[in-house]
Structure formats: C-alpha cells, structure tokens
C-alpha cells in the first residue's frame, strides 16, 4: 500500500471518538471548574492539567497498569466482554481521553469564566434555573472557546504517539495509528511511504483546522444581520 490508509482511518476514528467524549465530560467538568467556589478546586485543576507536563510514556504506563488484566478494572472489563481492554481500540480511547483532557477542559473553562457574570445573574433573576442558564446563555456565549477546545483535542489525539505505543501496542488495523505507522516505516527505511502518510495527515489536519477556524470567523459576529 502506498499510504497506510488503515492507520489514518484508525487515527481519525480515535480522534473523533475522543473529541466527542471529551465534549460530554469536559463541558460539565469545565463548568464546575469555572463556577465552583469549593475549596478543593485547585486539586482538580492540577489533576486535569497533569497530562500537559507528564511524559506520555508515564501516563501510558499508569493507564496500562490500571487497565491491565491484573487490575480490578481490567479484570472486570474482561469478565464482561471476554476481551482485554489494553491493546484494543477501547484502551486507546481511554488513554486518549485522559491524555487530551486538558486540551478540552482548559479552553472550555476559560471560555465559561469569560462569560459576563452579569448576564448569568440576569438570567437567574429572570427565573432561569442554573441548568437553563448554562445551556441557553453560557454555552452559546462560550461557543468559540468550546470549538477551540474540540479542535485542540482532535489535533492532539491525531498526533499522539507515546501513550498509544504504551497502551495500544502496534497491531495493524486495530491499534496502529498514523504516528506509529510513520515511525515504523522510518525504522524500516521506507521513507517514501512514511512521507506519503505524513503528507496525507498534514493535508487532513490543515483541512480540519481551516474549516473550524472559518466557522469560528462566521460566528464571531454576535448576530447575523437581518
């Protein structure tokens, strides 16, 4: 094969799944970080930011240990599904979510914190519950930051290497992602194929970023004039 298409497809699938799940858990988590006045907030802040400073191999190592067949978590997963979670797509997904957590949560939280407090209070005084205020006022006003967080998570997952190698190994079609594939090709002196795969990834990344930034620019105006 001239280009490792299965690896690209796997990476894209992983990146999309990671981004969507991060959206689901990242929005409430970011809302809590942005609005809570609890004492323990700093600890959660630090935990969320950990993947930024931790070497991917360290993170991958802990995920491997935590999800391995000997761990309670890995054991339970195996008992239910009959498969191991490590060296599988699901294992990669868990690792990717942890690894990209700060890239989603931090822009989300920054965008929430930047929403004018007065508008939130106005919504409360108009009778809107905290949830309704969040969905109708905070999220729409924080949209640029939410899109930015999603783009960053997507790009970060697409390019991850160390964590994937630790948790997923290198099983073609199952856990071999683009970056691992390129590394393999270079190790095997197949510079031509590595170059083509790299070029395909480069082009794809550019298109994703270009499209999302273009949509940002459009929504930059607060309202389309009638």
């Amino acid at each position: 094969m001239a280009v490792d298409w299965p690896a690209i497809a796997l990476s894209v699938r992983l990146a999309i799944a990671t981004t969507l799940i991060l959206l689901l858990i990242g929005l409430p988590l970011a809302a809590w970080l942005a609005f809570s006045r609890r004492r323990g907030r700093w600890a959660v802040d630090a935990i969320v930011a950990l993947p930024l400073v931790l070497p991917p191999t360290v993170l991958g190592f802990y995920v491997l240990v935590a999800l391995g067949p000997r761990s309670p978590l890995g054991h339970a997963y195996e008992a239910i599904t009959g498969r191991t979670i490590v060296f599988s797509f699901q294992g990669l997904l868990v690792a990717s979510i942890l690894y990209s957590l700060p890239f989603a949560v931090q822009p989300f939280a920054a965008a929430f914190a930047a929403v004018d407090r007065g508008l939130i209070e106005t919504a409360w005084c108009l009778g809107a519950s905290r949830l309704r205020t969040f969905t109708r006022i905070v999220v729409p006003l924080a949209r640029p930051g939410i899109v930015a967080g999603m783009v960053l998570s997507f790009a970060h997952t697409l390019g991850e290497f160390g964590v994937v190698l630790m948790v997923g190994g290198n099983l073609p079609g199952r856990t071999r992602t683009v970056s691992v594939s390129i590394y393999d090709d270079v190790q095997a002196f197949d510079y031509a194929r590595a170059g083509r795969t790299a070029a395909a990834l480069l082009l794809f990344s550019f298109v994703v970023l270009a499209v999302s930034y273009r949509s940002q620019r459009k929504s930059g105006r607060t309202w389309p004039h009638a």
């Binding site: 209070e121 409360w124 108009l126 009778g127």
Partner: protein, 363 residues
C-alpha cells in the same frame, strides 16, 4: 395585594467595610423609592442582597409573609424564586438573542400568545418593530426599554433598577428620565431605584433613602430629605452648598437666632433643646444685592465680599465671605447687572425660612 418589603440586614464587604440597610417598601401602590448615595457607598450591594445575588451576614429580608433571607435560620431564597425584576447598570441584554428572544427568556414558556405578549410589552415601553433585531443594533435608550420590557415579562412583584440612566448619553438622559418616571408610575409595582444623581432622585423618586458611609442615614419623602437633611452627611450628599457650624443663642416665637462666625442669623426652624447646630442653606435661596438698596422683608441681610465666582452652565455660583462662607446661585444676567467681581462688597439676603438647622454633636 399589599405586600410589604421589610429589609434589615448587614453585609460585610471587607473586615472594616460593611453596608447596613434598614428600610421598608410598600407594594400595592406605585411607590418609587430612590436609594441615593455617592459612588462606592454600597447601593448596588443593597440591591444585590434584595435580589438574592449577594448574601448578607446579618439580619433578614421579608416580603409579605415570605421570608427571603434570614441569617439566624439560614434561609436564603434563590433569585429565581423571589420573582422580582433586577435591571443592572448595563441592562444585561443577552447579545446572542434577538430582542424578542430576550423578552421571551423571562416568560414561563407557553409559546402560544407569547408573540402577542412580547408586542404588548414592547408597546408599554414605546417600542415597535424591533423584535427581530439584535441588542447590539439598538441605541442606549432602546436597550433600556427592552430591558424594562423583559423585566416585566415575569410579572415581578418588585422592581430593582441599578443606575438606570448612567449608561445613557447626556442629551438622552433628560427625556428618558421623564419617560422612566411615567413608566414606573404606570405599572403599579413598587420599585427601588439606585442612583448617585440628585436630579434622578428628585425626578424619579416618591421617597428616598440616603446611603452614606455604609448605612442609611435618612428615609423620607424626596423633597423633605432635600430640604431637611437629617445630618451633615445627608446634607453633603444631597448637595446643600452651605453647611456651617453655628450656635443657637436664643429662640423666641419660633424664630431662632443662630450665631455663625461673626454674624447672627434669624432662622425659622428650631430644634428643641439643641444649641450646637449646623446651618444648611441652599444656594438658590440666597439673594445677592449691592449695598444701600432698599430694606427688604428678609430677616438676614449679611454684608460681605465676593471671594469666588464660578460659572456653571446658565448659572453662576458666587461665594461670599460674610463672616462665614456662603454660596449663592444667580443667573448670568444678574451677575452682569450687579457687576460682581472678586472683592465686590455686597449684601447677601437669606429668608429665615430658607435656613435649615441640623443638630451637631459636640465631642
């Protein structure tokens, strides 16, 4: 449905800085109470505590038979359930929603008839055909009207307005002030309006509470507070130009003789038993004459010299040293007629009824 708001609470902003509020507000009549005081006096804090956005440390807030806040039992009803309107200084319109969506945000769903309701609310504030527009395309006055319409959408039981005119350009303020007055009179919901502007207070309020130095000094009918300030802080904040210490020498037939500096003033206001007083005189109650003019009926004819002349728009503020510094306001033509310059000798005339005494504690 005559419910009464009874507020008596204290909120600490810092270890040595707190705001105390004690006042009542009757509903059931279109009563506009102005909460008046200089910037930073804590007016907004009081409003936010009433709205449920800030939590006082002491005291209680009751509305009718509901308890909104009670520090001793820990009751603190959420802003959502107080059902009042709170309009912040910048109006708080949601920028990502249209005018109609903004107004509907405050309604309890029911999409049928909501559109008519929006139109009706917009008519109340004299707006037409703006439902589909974005708040960012509206003028300052229109934004205020939309905010008021939205505030009414919930049938509030109490209206709280924080500096409603401060965000408007000067030329717009006068007409909007009158319009706001009519609006507040027409809706039959009691309102509390925060302002630091004397003209706002005089125009909008039926009653006013004067906040200074962290507590409410005086509550009363607006005119009463202006003409009879309860203490020096109130006199200073409602802008009585001349407030000087004096000593009551004699009271006879309801007319007091008060020694101020080197002169005796006759005052038609007596405080029983008070000897040490502050004398407050509004500049518009002082008449200036050149010496040797015919005697007038005024009790107080004070000879002095002009010490400063300050033009202020169409009027001129003239300060006269007549044993104490007394400020008068006269028109520009009057200034020219009297040919006043600094040092000109003249007679300042104050009617005894225009002088107000404030009891002075001697420490």
């Amino acid at each position: 449905m005559a419910a009464r708001l009874i507020a008596s609470f204290l909120r600490r902003l810092a270890p040595d800085l707190s705001v105390r509020a004690d006042f009542e507000l009757n509903s059931g009549e279109p009563d506009v109470m102005v909460l008046f005081g200089p910037s930073g006096a804590g007016k907004t804090t009081i409003l936010r505590c009433l709205a449920g956005l800030d939590r006082p440390q002491e005291g209680s807030i009751r509305f009718g038979d509901e308890i909104w806040f009670d520090a001793s039992t820990g009751v603190d009803v959420s802003p959502q359930r107080r059902r009042l309107a709170y309009v912040s200084q910048d109006y708080g319109l949601f920028p990502h929603l249209t005018v109609e969506q903004n107004i509907r945000f405050g309604m309890d769903s029911a999409p049928s008839g909501a559109r008519d309701r929006v139109e009706a609310l917009l008519r109340t504030v004299h707006l037409k055909n703006v439902g589909g527009r974005s708040p960012s395309t509206l003028s300052g006055g229109e934004r205020q009207r939309v905010a008021l319409a939205r505030a009414l959408a919930r049938d509030p039981r109490l209206i709280l307005l924080d500096e409603p005119l401060a965000a408007l350009d000067l030329p717009l303020r006068d007409p909007m002030r009158r319009e706001l007055r009519q609006f507040l009179r027409s809706i039959n919901v009691p309102s509390l309006v925060v302002t630091h502007d004397r003209i706002d207070a005089l125009t909008l309020g039926d009653r006013m509470a004067v906040l200074s130095g962290g507590y409410i000094h005086q509550v009363g009918a607006v005119h009463d507070v202006f003409s009879r300030p309860a203490d020096v802080e109130v006199a200073a904040s409602v802008g009585v130009e001349t407030v000087v210490p004096g000593e009551v020498r004699d009271t006879r037939d309801g007319l007091a003789t008060v020694r101020v500096g080197a002169v005796d003033l006759r005052v038609a206001h007596a405080i029983a038993g008070a000897r040490m007083v502050f004398v407050s005189i509004r500049a518009e109650d002082v008449t200036l004459e050149v010496p040797r003019s015919a005697d007038a009926s005024a009790r107080n004819r004070l000879e002095g010299r002009v010490t400063s002349i300050q033009p202020e728009g169409p009027v001129v503020r003239v300060t006269v040293d007549c044993g104490f510094l007394l400020t008068a306001v006269i028109t520009r033509p009057a200034l020219e007629e009297l040919a006043l310059v600094e040092g000109t000798p003249l007679v300042a005339v104050v009617k005894a009824t225009a002088i107000h005494l404030i009891q002075r504690d001697v420490g």
